[in-house]
Symmetry: D2
Subunit: 376 residues, 4 copies
């Protein structure tokens, strides 16, 4: 075996490890390895970096590219074979864990009219953001939600869920978002198929939205002690209206424009314990300032077009395109239109970071808050 | 002085005090009184009752009676003299503490167009429910709310607040609700007049409603650590719409029909730490079953007409009438119309009871859940 | 009837009511009274005071006076007649509600060896602080606590409880503390006698103290979702030791010397939802500075002697004396010994004030923080 | 390139992916890869396992083996070169992340008398468990803790900390425990060296232990809003005493004997937001039943000897040995002595699992709760 280097991470700085390889040390390291141990100073600077360095890279997944292969899967595999016909997004830096960014999974799922997937549940928390088609629905623990474009729907951790498209609908495509990679990393993933394969719908259609999706009001006395939102579906029309109502009374965030979080109405907190979501509107011509955050983000353009600058490089997007902002990367957003607004849906892992006390954010201080563009 | 009786509360039951007066005991009691003390057994059964016995009595305050005197106050006193022109509701069992029921105060306030009250703040939490008139507004800590009939507005504990009516408005009447009696009972009431008499309005009109009054969405990243709701105004139109949306997917409460709580959207909890509020809709012909609760309630009929049966007696009400349900009294509600719905606004002290771990409720078990009417 | 005055509370200050009685107004007020209403400006300044004005007065109850009458009750009444033989403390300003201060009740209870009271439970939260005697015990929900001088024991809201003294013990006296007056004020008091009159002791003696009364450690995985402490007994020896340990590393509070709160080890919060308790040590010669608080306090001198200055008047106390500090009264404490420490046990209603968002405190700013003594 | 298999994870079960490789599908997969995407059904069964399958393996690190190499590091590297002289524990299944088990790091650190490490802080939460030597101390945010064998000390997330050994002490060895791997996995790790290299000790020695390490008592009114315990050091003597006190009133846990959690006395919760710790005592001859938990554990034998059975294999341990129980592995513990107790210190990531709603546990149901031993 060629001599392995143990001093790859040396730093010449007080308080950091700075030990060169010597023959006695190499012998020592070999001794340690035999007893499942190592010398901390050989890895200390690697495992205690000055700041996070993400493994993920920025990517834009263009709907113009993906739509055709997604639809093609309808012909390539049956639902029975595939379970679900999904094209998942694979970050080049995270192929091993099938992640789109950080510990977040995402995919584009397609179903034909009249299809109904089998019901199951799992430790992973899941959400859907509807991209196109008519007649899609999701059943969650006996509640049925009908779905239209830009509707946002939850199938939380531990709930029985299944998707389908009505007989008189069209082929439907939606984006799935899950924390499957996180569940695997934490070795906490359990999975069950529903004993009856299909669950019964035992509540009126869209009952949770009608009971819990009202401004400043909730069902009196209704107990809700789950860790996720009882509002399973957030519809697009009132969401878009809310953005405009909010816009009429706020200057907006310098970093995110008119930015609203989807919340659990029973607590005011995030929609699920491990995944949060938001919708933001960039006003005509708006160009936000850059900041960075401990957390990973996956965006879908719900309306309009524009671009984002991520760690100094420009990424264009238009309606239905999906892109990611990896952990602790500088990012700013630009609406490409001077006349119309642009809307970005996002989901992220900030609830994890905040639950563990790890969240930070930082504004880009130089250049008036705007990143200089790097040579491409 | 005639001999005072010390054995008024005797009960012949194991575990309860049952001591008759004797000469030596009377001498003993007199000794104790001189040292600011007493014998527990002379009062034990009084101060440890088997269940609560409220001092309040049910009352209906009819708007047909009160409206004229309320308006008359406009001529009788100036705002400068009176501070505020308010006719307050005085429960016959609570006259000493100027309470409408339990520890809750309520009054009908009237203002002329062009009037603006002076700004102040206090430990008491306050709310308004608008009864009639055009052009009313309330300012709270720099936020202005415009007000229409059946709007519900908060001026929470510790906030600077003032009311007014626009120059082009009409005389406006609203119901005030406060916990002034509770503040006095707890000896916790502080009061301040604003140093400038008037506060500046520093935010866009109705900004809190437009920012926080959206279904399932909140301003992203907005910190809100106050103990009261950032949603200062709950408007009638979306509230009434919410009742109907909820009604379309629920059987309703057996005791309260279609019943929704006004909530703090930042927490999902009550609107203020000491006062909660709700709106309920009785469907055409609905007659709810009876229950009782630890807590005091003050209702205003916001729409329709009907009656409530409280501890076996019937109390009729119609739009704008106010009535109370005292603590631990059986009550059931009846919509007087077979064709239209009836709506009851209520505020109450359940947040106090729940914060202190004292809340209980009980369903009326006999007679199919309906109280037999007592002879009147 | 002589003409009643309606203008007793006038204040000549902007923003306050200042309306003189006139004949038309008197007629108006009479009209309002007939409809269970009144004019707010006749009472506004009374019910919205600038700051709290307590009804309670400072009192010292000297054990030298009370001990003999307490023991005399053993001969005057049987336990069967009296339920419990207790001399309760009656604040001259709160006789109507049998309160020692504010909404707090207190009494001195005595039992003979071999006696065992009947078991009961109630909405009121209760505590005991042991004053003298050998062999006392308390049973709470199947747990038995043995009791010695200066031990502090809980019988929380809703728990079955009963007291007794072992056959080989001596007559025992302890101070009871309860929130009975608060329960009555809130009309929230329920009371039950145990169906078997006596409860079974089903756990090892002092098990809760041995399981939960350990520094920085708790039973692993033990669920405790009650609103009160699982540590039912706080013993004197470790408490006194803790005061000295803490004293060795702190300068102490300027207002309270070495001051520790008894806490619920499952939450770090107060021992019960409506009553808190603390023990404080005044070091030899210590004279604390004055402050005032929204809350009512009842102290017992557990060790030593000294005095407190309350709203400018001096109140001397020695071991076993009990005294109160009413709401929002200035108070400072003085250890009467230059050579030994003095310890004050206290219980209070701060958990109520804090749960409702009403707590305030203020340091006495003049005269170096010390109150000038008023002429007596 | 040899043909890659895309159907490695097929399962012949309804609701699971079961798609065989075909030429058209391979072409399709290649298309997807070019656009940073994949077909979910090729990986679905891999990334959604039926239950967790940990990457970690059980290991015992024997102090008899490690002690000598640890001491040898004193001669091999200077503190200036190494930063800290630590031999870290490397789980054979987690070498890539330098983890001892799951996402937990551990190492044995050694210091000579008179040495003082430089002060720094980081996102990782850290703890120490003292193994041998006299005179060790740790400084945390201006507080100094002196340390003896089996003392447990925290240097929480974000606190400035440094370790040293007094001039008149001896070479000291302790176990470090950190969540460094988790911080790296979450890409949330920040690191800073103290600007002065050394921090000032500004509080009395051991002040936090003397202020917060008292049974059922805390400093009155002391604010503590950090997410970690103010009790930075948990000493061995009172901990061992607590185990025996608890043992005198409990049957103990069937799975863990006399088991106590170290807690944050300000909340009753875990000592740090990402790491919990406990001490457990196995009574003479005790053999616990098996269970498994979502969470990773690292144990150190603090007293006595015995063995654990982990997923059917026996692992012997004696005082100072360290061993791990990986996620979701069956485990049971056996005291090797019939006459003396054995104590196991453990730290784990249960606070992470619980904060994210992922915790589960399961008792081993067969064979009376005891695992059959596998052939070795
Ligand atoms: Fe799923
Ligand atoms: Fe951002
Ligand atoms: Fe007011
Ligand atoms: Fe009711
Ligand atoms: Fe009692
Ligand atoms: Fe005080
Ligand atoms: Fe460190
Ligand atoms: Fe275990």
């Amino acid at each position: 075996m060629a001599a392995r280097s143990y001093d790859a991470y040396r730093e010449d700085r007080v308080g950091r490890a700075n030990v060169g390889d010597t023959a006695p040390l190499r012998a020592y390291y070999a001794d340690l390895e035999r007893m499942h141990a190592g010398a901390l100073w050989t890895v200390a600077n690697k495992i205690e970096p000055w700041e996070p360095k993400t493994e993920s890279v920025p990517v834009v997944w263009r709907y113009a590219d993906l739509r055709e292969p997604v639809l093609r899967s309808l012909d390539l595999v049956t639902p029975e074979q595939a379970g679900r016909r999904v094209v998942f997004l694979e970050n080049p830096g995270r192929t091993e864990m099938s992640a789109a960014v950080g510990w977040l999974y995402s995919g584009l799922q397609v179903m034909n009219p009249g299809e109904l997937a089998s019901s199951h549940r799992h430790s992973a928390s899941a959400l859907r953001f509807i991209m196109e088609g008519e007649g899609a629905f999701t059943n969650v623990d006996g509640h049925r939600m009908t779905l239209g474009a830009n509707d946002f729907v939850l199938t939380p951790n531990g709930t029985w869920h299944e998707h389908g498209v009505a007989d008189d609908g069209t082929a439907c495509i939606w984006q799935d978002g899950l924390d499957i990679p996180l569940m695997n990393a934490l070795e906490a993933g359990f999975y069950e198929v529903h004993p009856d394969l299909q669950q019964a719908v035992t509540y009126p259609v869209d009952d949770m939205t009608k009971a819990w999706g009202n401004p400043g009001l909730r069902p009196a006395g209704a107990a809700w002690d789950k860790r996720y939102s009882p509002l399973f579906k957030y519809e697009w029309a009132p969401t878009y209206e809310a953005l405009h109502r909010f816009a009429s009374v706020t200057d907006g965030s310098p970093f995110d424009g008119i930015h609203m979080d989807y919340v659990n109405p029973a607590t005011g907190g995030p929609v699920m314990p491990t995944i949060g979501a938001s919708m933001q509107m960039l006003r005509p011509g708006e160009h936000t300032r850059a900041h960075r955050q401990v957390g990973s983000f996956l965006y879908q353009c719900a309306k309009g077009h524009g671009y984002s600058i991520i760690n100094g490089r420009r990424y264009d997007w238009r309606e239905r395109d999906i892109f990611c902002v990896p952990n602790w990367m500088w990012h700013e957003h630009v609406n490409g239109s001077a006349g119309d607004d642009a809307c970005l849906f996002a989901f992220h892992d900030l609830p994890v970071m905040k639950a563990l006390g790890l969240y930070r954010e930082q504004a880009f201080g130089d250049n008036g808050g705007y990143q200089p563009l790097l040579e491409q």
